[in-house]
Amino acid sequence: MQTEQLNSKSIYYPPGGILMWIIIFLELFTFGMALIAMVINSKDEPEVFHNSRLLLNSTYGAINTVFLLTSGFFMAQSVKYLKLKEVEKSSLFLKLTMLGGLLFLVLKSIEYYGKIQGGLTLSYNTFFSFYWMLTLFHVIHVIVGLVVLAVNFIGLKKKKGETNLEDFEASAAFWHMCDLIWLLLFPIIYLIF
């Protein structure tokens, strides 16, 4: 296993790699612009947005924030232990990271089920169009992130090791990106209208 570290002080080697950071910024700008569009739309229908926001369960949103933050913490620990060449511990924390992601998806599914049962679908009103598009797009990122982490986990488990530190850090950066996006979505969708 290659655990040699790059000098992240170089502009060309941010932690996770420059290509991953270009992706992160593209994603942040995409979600950011969509959220700004949502806020602009709320000016035309303030009552609709306020009443719709009250139909969301902000406790679910807060618990999901805790799940993702905790998952991010485990991911950071996993990377640190891999740098210390403690593969077993790194693997354990990676498992906990994935557990956090799975719990997020379980709670999101419960939330979605309630909304669909209540008829609060994509076409219900402008607020719920944004709610579904933004949160579903984020959920897709979480699922992709879990697949990426699972591939890394399999790589760590193999004796010869097919995971190198740069790949692992890039995967971790992608996972943290899901966390960052949620930290923007949660206050705007669940709290401020």
């Binding site: 992240s8 941010p14 932690p15 996770g16 959220l35 902000s58 406790t59 620990q77 640190k80």
Partner: protein, 92 residues
Amino acid sequence: MKKKHTPYPSQEGILSFLKVWIVLIVLTICTALIANSTLLYSSTVLLILILSVVKFLGVSFYFMELRKAHIFWKISVFMYALLFIVLVYVII
């Protein structure tokens, strides 16, 4: 381009993540409490946005280790977060 290498991290760094995680969880609880408070709407929105950006920067600078990166990346993330809350606050 030749790649430069740095020494391995210490166990100390691992403990610092725990402190950051505790701060992030406390900030999340504070955000939930403020959202249910009886403060003025504009103050509530501003506080929620500021706390969210602090959490955003906490994750990017500590968990993603951006604090060790080149200043270009630090400023880019900081400016993004700042621009985002300013735009949301001005529009809303």
